[in-house]
């Protein structure tokens, strides 16, 4: 059974459609890299999935439950936003406790491996207002993975992270995928897309123009790197083409 089902999704801001006619199905254990130019609808797609914006058309189902007013489906979702901002006067430990309380997480039920792997364990007593952007990003990564989500949404997760932490995070993605978590990642880094993605979802002008494995694009274009193959592949697509799923 598909973990996420998107059917005829459309979102309009004023008269402008940010997303239109998007259909997609994502399976358990699949990593989907959501890519596209700025303003293509990536963020809107993710926000629709998270229930942050309401679609004007269509629907999204997560584990068979329609995304809507009932927030309980979000207990299965982990989210790492592009910009990690938390209450400045809380300590990292207090923030983790707050999220534990909200999630009703019992002691021992959380996945705390990233706390040590990313070096967040030495930040626990520090006030968030004193942390750098990269440190806050690490805390954000910890929160996203901590409650063993079955759907993990990462919005440009390695932006702002040092190379070692970025590597640790990408390893964690691989590990969580092996446990059956569906992972959606937005990224502009083609190496990441090629390395991590089972499929890439290419959005342009609010339309899903392609949803297929990176290897397929490499095979079609005869290129060895995705950064060269993707423009070549897109150039041969008819403008109104939407990849059938």
């Amino acid at each position: 059974m598909d973990r996420i089902v998107i059917e005829g999704l459309g979102k309009r801001y004023g008269r402008q459609w940010a997303l239109r006619g998007v259909n997609a199905r994502f399976a358990p254990g699949e990593v989907v890299m959501v890519i596209g130019p700025n303003g293509s609808g990536k963020t809107t797609l993710i926000k629709c999935l998270l229930g942050l914006v309401r679609a004007n058309e269509g629907a999204i189902h997560v584990q068979g439950r329609e995304v809507g007013a009932d927030p309980t489906y979000r207990a299965t979702i982990g989210y790492m936003p592009q910009l990690a901002e938390f209450p400045r006067e809380l300590t990292v430990d207090q923030l983790l406790r707050m999220m534990n309380d909200i999630r009703n997480a019992r002691s021992g039920s959380t996945d705390d491996r990233l706390i040590k792997a990313l070096g967040v364990d030495v930040l626990l007593d520090k006030r968030i207002g004193t942390l750098s952007g990269g440190m806050r990003q690490k805390v954000s990564a910890v929160l996203a993975f901590r409650y063993r989500p079955t759907v993990l949404v990462l919005d440009e997760p390695t932006a702002g992270l040092d190379p070692v932490s970025a590597h640790t995070l990408l390893n964690a993605v691989q590990e969580t995928r092996r446990n059956g978590t569906t992972v959606l990642i937005t990224s502009h880094i083609m190496e990441e897309v090629q390395q991590l993605g089972d499929r890439l979802a290419y959005l342009q002008d609010g339309r899903l123009r392609a949803l297929l494995a990176p290897e397929t694009i490499l095979d079609i274009t005869g290129e060895t790197s995705l950064s060269k193959a993707l423009p070549k592949y897109l150039a041969q697509l008819p403008s109104a083409h939407v990849e059938s799923l």
């Binding site: 309401r54 207990a75 901002e85 938390f86 209450p87 006067e89 809380l90 707050m98 909200i102 999630r103």
Partner: protein, 255 residues
């Protein structure tokens, strides 16, 4: 809701602006009581300062705090929580924090130097104004995505309530001075929470006599149990209406 409220309060307890607000009120209150020989005179001056300062600083602080928390609020909205619980929790926490700062900064000096009915009325109306302007600040922040625009609307709201509304009332009173318009002025004054608070404090200090017939009408209306009930309901509505509006708007808002 209580979980979010608890941690928002912990955050606010160390907030420099909230601490500065309490310190400023303490400084102004102590300064007035120590400089004025007569505690009642000091209370009159403090009333004028407090009824302008408390709404302004509460409103601006609330608006800025909500904008500063926007990204975190989005993260909370991705948790298994109802949106209305998130906003109610944040509004409640900011209200509690500002009330604590208000009672520490203004309440303690008033209770030490002027612990009479007028002093208590100033504290209660000041507390009501704190709740009113936190709710209005929350509404302004929810309805306006742009921070500068939100702060601007907050300032305009304050100017309208503190200055423009009073000026309009004065203009009406002046223009229709040859007619018995006091029965109209009383409910009009009650529509503005700051005016309502000022009237309630003035009545307790017995300044209503200085206002002539208008003062007598105020005394007659707000001096009665029914009048006090109307004042209480008016202030309660000033809290509930913007808070409800903010919560509903936040529940439907695209974040």
């Amino acid at each position: 809701m209580w979980k979010v409220c608890k941690y928002t309060l912990i955050d606010l307890a160390r907030n420099r602006f909230a601490l500065g607000y309490a310190g400023l009120l303490l400084l102004v209150s102590l300064g007035l009581f120590l400089l004025e020989g007569d505690p009642t005179q000091a209370l009159i001056s403090l009333t004028q300062v407090a009824l302008a300062l408390v709404p302004l600083l509460t409103l601006i602080f609330t608006v800025i705090y909500f904008y500063n928390q926007y990204e975190f609020t989005v993260l909370l909205a991705v948790q298994p929580l109802h949106r209305r619980s998130i906003l109610l929790a944040q509004l409640l926490a900011v209200t509690i924090a500002m009330l604590v700062a208000f009672f520490f900064g203004l309440g303690l000096p008033v209770l030490v130097y002027c612990p009479n009915a007028a002093g208590w009325t100033l504290l209660l109306t000041g507390a009501a104004l704190t709740a009113v302007f936190t709710a209005i600040g929350g509404l302004v922040a929810v309805k306006n995505r742009d921070r500068a625009r939100g702060v601007g609307i907050g300032l305009v709201t304050w100017v309208m309530m503190v200055l423009v509304y009073d000026a309009l009332l004065l203009w009406i009173m002046f223009s229709f001075s040859d007619r018995p318009i006091e029965p109209v002025i009383v409910p009009l004054a009650a529509l503005n929470p700051i005016d309502l608070a000022r009237i309630l404090v003035m009545l307790k200090i017995d300044l209503a006599a200085l206002l002539g017939y208008t003062g007598a009408v105020y005394q007659q209306f707000f001096g009665s149990a029914g009048g006090m009930l109307v004042a209480f309901v008016a202030l309660l509505l000033w809290v509930l209406l913007p808070a409800t509006w903010a919560v509903r708007a936040f529940a439907r808002k695209d974040l």
